[in-house]
Amino acid sequence: MPSKAKIMVVEDNIDESKLIKMALEPEGYEVVTAMNGKEAKEKMDSEKPNFIVLDVMMPEMDGFHFCSWVRSQPEYQKIPVVLLTGVAEHIYDTKYPLKGVMEADADEYLEKPVKPEVLLKTISKLIKK
């Protein structure tokens, strides 16, 4: 793995996206952002990221669907994915049953509010693998 990994941050909240970017760049990562799963999907070919930080609840295409798509693509399926979410349990019951989390097959699953230190540690651990 090259030292300067390219991380794609898929997050619809601009503030959060900006904060993650500000936390990652000083660590030497290159960061590209996308507002939702659909935009991320379109950017995959041109950007070719080697890591994905993914929010779950987004318009157009949500995190679970995007993650499943990534896993179904031969050229992308080995890219590590970290899912971030602040979803309350009651929403899981209806629209995102736990099954959705399992099927999405992310490498890590972090619940908001995520400590930036934890996110950084998770990323470096997964990149070293």
Binding site: D15, P59, I91, T94, P113, K115, P116
Partner: protein
């Protein structure tokens, strides 16, 4: 017609099982049927008696032998002789009016329909009105009132309609009136002739003050206690007759049945009240869960920006400090406005309060749901009608309706590209409308029909099945109505119309 010319079955059919035989027929000895169709014991209603040894064969029950009975010459003879007064069953014995076969059957059907309708109502007054109407019809009474025990010390409260006006009556639980007596002693009171001819010394006093109030003279009166499942008296159902005649044992039987229905309705009402408070708790739970989600998102941003600021200070990076500080500020602001929202729109804080601006209420609720809409990738839009305000409505109730409808719309929405639109409109001088529509899964006609059924839910795990019945109840309270347009796979639109207070 004297009874001497009316023949009993054993006389007409020259039966070997008559009164003088060693082994008399069950119809011969059934004293409870004495007098029906003018016969001795069940002599002229033998078809209703099981196991009669007719035609040298032991017959079964009525439903087993009726074909033979209907073809029997004796049955036809009795039917001809009695004409309009013919009784097919002893159940109908003595019940006033003409009781032909179809009357009896229609009455039984009516009893069942009352019982069934009880399951579809949750408004106690409507149910009681239906029961008293049915009781009047079946006993031939002019008035029927249900009194329920309330207060401390308990008194009996009842209401009735007279020429379109509702009158309320309250009676003490004591021996000073027939109604009070029935409740105090848990006894059926059947006053057969109040004109005095056959007044018994021991019978409870009939209080005439009520008669004066409605300008009528009661001739006969029936009061049956209403008992809860624990056999406690919770009220009294009465029937009063101004015409000659009296209430028979069969009338008493019917009234006892109605008393049971009243008791069921009261208990159901109690149960619903408990369920509604459970629902309120559940909706608070949902709000809290929604809030937790909002707060988590804010905390996430606060944590992120404080990390950036800390690190940027160490690195002396003013640009990052500024950027993160801005984000921090914005989220502190949203935290503050979030707590304001919750304080302003706690439904409990609005108990019974009259609202004057429907558009304000709707925009507050929509605002409150905006964050969850974002999290669930739903676009929540709002269109406020002009001329809606000022108006007058029960703020707490309409708030509950709206929260219910929006929650349902959210839950129906597809995984992505969900659309929920809320709008208000004035539809009459005193009438307002709120519409909540979604582009969700929609409903079949069957689904629509079951919509307002209690405890029916399609939301496994989170639905109580009380949401829409609550909405229906509230709308009814506002003399309103609900209209639904729904197409399977295309979405649903709920319109609630209600009258201003």
């Amino acid at each position: 017609m004297s009874t001497s010319v009316k023949k009993n079955c054993w006389q007409q059919l020259q039966c070997n099982h008559g009164p003088k035989s060693e082994n008399p027929c069950p119809a011969v000895v059934d004293e409870t049927s004495n007098g029906v169709n003018g016969g001795k014991n069940a002599g002229r209603i033998c078809w209703s008696i099981p196991n009669t040894p007719c035609f040298d064969e032991i017959m079964g029950r009525f439903d087993e032998k009726r074909e033979i009975c209907f073809a029997c010459d004796f049955f036809q003879l009795v039917k001809r002789e009695e004409g309009e007064d013919f009784h097919l069953f002893k159940l109908a014995q003595g019940v006033k009016g003409s009781h032909k076969l179809h009357d009896t059957i229609s009455q039984m059907e009516h009893l069942f329909s009352i019982h069934e309708r009880l399951h579809s109502h949750f408004d106690l007054n409507t149910t009681i009105r239906e029961i008293t109407t049915a009781a009047r019809r079946i006993t031939g009474a002019q008035r029927s009132i249900v009194f329920l025990l309330k207060g401390d010390p308990p008194r009996l409260y009842g209401e009735f309609r007279l020429r379109g006006k509702v009158h309320r009556v309250s009676i003490g639980v004591d021996n000073n009136s027939a109604v009070g007596y029935a409740a105090a002693n848990n006894e059926v009171v059947n006053l057969r002739d109040l004109s005095g001819e056959f007044m018994s010394v021991n019978q409870p006093v009939f209080n005439r003050s009520f008669d004066k109030q409605i300008n009528c003279e009661t001739h006969s009166f029936l009061a049956v206690p209403v008992q809860s499942s624990g056999e406690m008296v919770i009220g009294v159902i009465t029937a009063a007759n101004a015409k000659k005649g009296y209430f028979t044992a069969d009338d008493e039987w019917f009234m006892r049945t109605y008393a049971t229905e009243v008791a069921l309705a009261v208990e159901k009402q109690k149960f619903l009240h408990q369920s509604f408070s459970a629902l309120r708790l559940a909706s608070i739970g949902e709000t809290v869960a929604g809030l937790a989600h909002c707060i988590k998102n804010i905390a996430h941003a606060l944590r992120g920006s404080s990390y950036i600021i800390k690190r940027a200070i160490e690195a002396n990076n003013v640009r990052d400090i500024r950027a993160a500080w801005e984000i921090l500020d914005r989220h502190i602001e949203s935290l503050a406005s979030l707590s304001l929202d919750v304080l302003t729109y706690d439904p409990a804080a609005h108990k019974g309060e009259k609202g004057t601006s429907l558009n304000d209420l709707v925009s507050h609720v929509v605002h409150l749901f905006q964050e969850e809409a974002r999290a669930r990738a739903i676009s929540l839009s709002m269109e406020l009608g002009d001329k809606v305000d000022p108006c007058s409505f029960n703020a707490r109730n309409i708030y509950r309706c709206l929260v219910n409808l929006i929650t349902n719309a959210f839950d129906a929405c597809p995984l992505s590209e969900g659309l929920v639109a809320v709008s208000t409109k004035r539809t009459g001088a005193r009438e307002l409308m709120i519409r909540v529509s979604d582009n969700g899964r929609g409903m079949s006609d069957k689904g629509k029909a079951e919509l307002f059924e209690l405890f029916k839910t399609t939301k496994t795990g989170i639905g109580t099945g009380l949401g829409l019945p609550t909405v229906a109840d509230i709308v009814k309270e506002h003399n309103g109505r609900i209209e639904i347009d729904s197409k399977l796979g295309e979405g649903t639109s709920f319109r609630i119309y209600f009258q201003e207070l």
